[in-house]
């Protein structure tokens, strides 16, 4: 318990989390502070490239764990399965239409890479090691949940749009390609490669993350200003309960697979997090009738801050306790 409180406290007063809080506060106070769209996209390219590369270089350094294939498979299954849990939970807690429930469910099956990155920072600061290939697991978990969501919609009688074009868009969306690509580059160039670019992707990483989270705070705060019109209390409860449910599934899988405590914390975080970059874009194409305000506010306005502040320390502490 002490370990958890220390972790939680250290996390809450870290520059990273406070930068997010600053963005949130600025947006809620209606300051005109804003990060240009091009800069926000550039920051996200940096983060994806850096995290992918470091994961690959770690794999090159430590060799391939025999659990790698299991972890990838586990991630795949989690991403497929979690939407069903979310869909059922939404049925209990809210009065959303089946279509909106399915759309939201797809987001929670998929992952938020920034939440993953934040968890990685927390582990590093606490000196807890984790499998480098977890970033590949993250990439694998992005897309399958979308298919589950569309299946849920089809079952409920409404047809979503899904064709070969959309399928390719989903599988080859920029963040998956960049994450996997830089992972492969990191694995191929190994320690030598890392040495060449570590003063770009390692040293300033946490600082860049602060600015990115400042921006996420601004965007999340803007969404939250409209929350009252959009979400009922049940949905708000869902935004905090669902990560715990998803996290529990993630932790269970991690234990079965045999991940290290650090790796398990990351798997838990991935399962607990909800997408707000790749999945919303796919949903606008596939399910245009679903209300985007609902899933964006839930994922980015509520679950993302929840995970960042409360969730990650819990996932790390519990993983340590159970598997440590």
């Amino acid at each position: 318990m002490n370990g958890f409180l220390d972790l939680a406290a250290a996390n809450l007063v870290s520059p990273v989390i406070l930068s997010f809080a600053l963005g949130l506060a600025a947006a809620l106070g209606r300051s005109d502070l804003s990060v240009p769209e091009a800069a926000a996209k550039a920051l996200s390219i940096y983060l994806l490239f850096a995290i992918g590369f470091k994961g690959g270089a770690a794999v090159a350094a430590n060799g391939l764990d025999r659990t790698l294939v299991l972890a990838l498979l586990g991630g795949l299954v989690l991403s497929f399965v979690t939407p069903f849990v979310a869909y059922a939970l939404l049925g209990v807690l809210t009065r959303l239409s089946p279509l909106d429930r399915a759309a939201v469910a797809g987001h929670y099956g998929s992952i938020s890479i920034v939440t993953f990155v934040a968890a990685t920072s927390v582990l590093e600061d606490a000196g807890i090691a984790a499998e480098g290939y977890m970033v590949a697991v993250a990439a694998v978990m992005e897309a399958p949940a979308i298919l589950s969501a569309l299946w849920l919609v089809a079952r409920s009688g409404q047809g979503g749009r899904m064709d070969a074009g959309l399928m390719r868009e989903i599988l080859l969306n920029g963040s998956i390609v960049l994450l996997v690509g830089s992972f492969v580059i990191g694995a191929a160039t190994g320690e030598d490669g890392l040495a060449q670019i570590s003063s770009f992707i390692v040293a300033p990483f946490t600082g860049v993350l602060c600015i990115f989270l400042l921006d996420m705070g601004l965007v999340a705060g803007r969404g939250l200003r409209q929350v009252r019109g959009v979400l009922g209390p049940g949905a708000v409860v869902f935004a905090a309960v669902m990560p715990l449910a998803g996290g529990a599934l993630g932790l269970g899988s991690a234990a079965l697979i045999g991940l290290s405590p650090g790796g398990a914390a990351l798997m838990t975080t991935l399962a607990a997090s909800a997408s707000y970059i790749a999945v919303p874009a796919a949903m606008r194409v596939a399910l245009p009738e679903a209300n985007p305000s609902i899933y964006l506010t839930l994922c980015l306005g509520l679950t993302f801050p929840f995970n960042l502040t409360v969730g990650i320390p819990v996932y790390v502490a519990v993983s340590q306790r159970i598997l440590g």
């Binding site: 240009p36 749009r161 074009g165 985007p292 305000s293």
Partner: protein
Amino acid sequence: MKMHRAKRVAVIIEAVMQRRLTDAMEAAGVTGYSVMPVLAGGGRSGPWTREGEVSRAGGMVQIVCIARPDKLDTLLSEVFPIVERHIGVITVADVEVLRAERF
């Protein structure tokens, strides 16, 4: 200078639908189109802005196509099914162009 009548079709549509819409325009046989950015907006679904956004969801673009008047019907019937299920606004205006042979 000799001017010719033409139609200016402007579609404000979600950015994620851009390629599908321009594909439909090409299928309708237009000679060209241009895509312009939209920074922010407001409508029945509330206000939005691109500031600080990373996701392509939630932004809009404006696609403008200058077409010969006799191509308008084909164009609209190719384009409408795509806009129909999505957030978007289609306007058509009369304009005059130089070099009619280009359209």
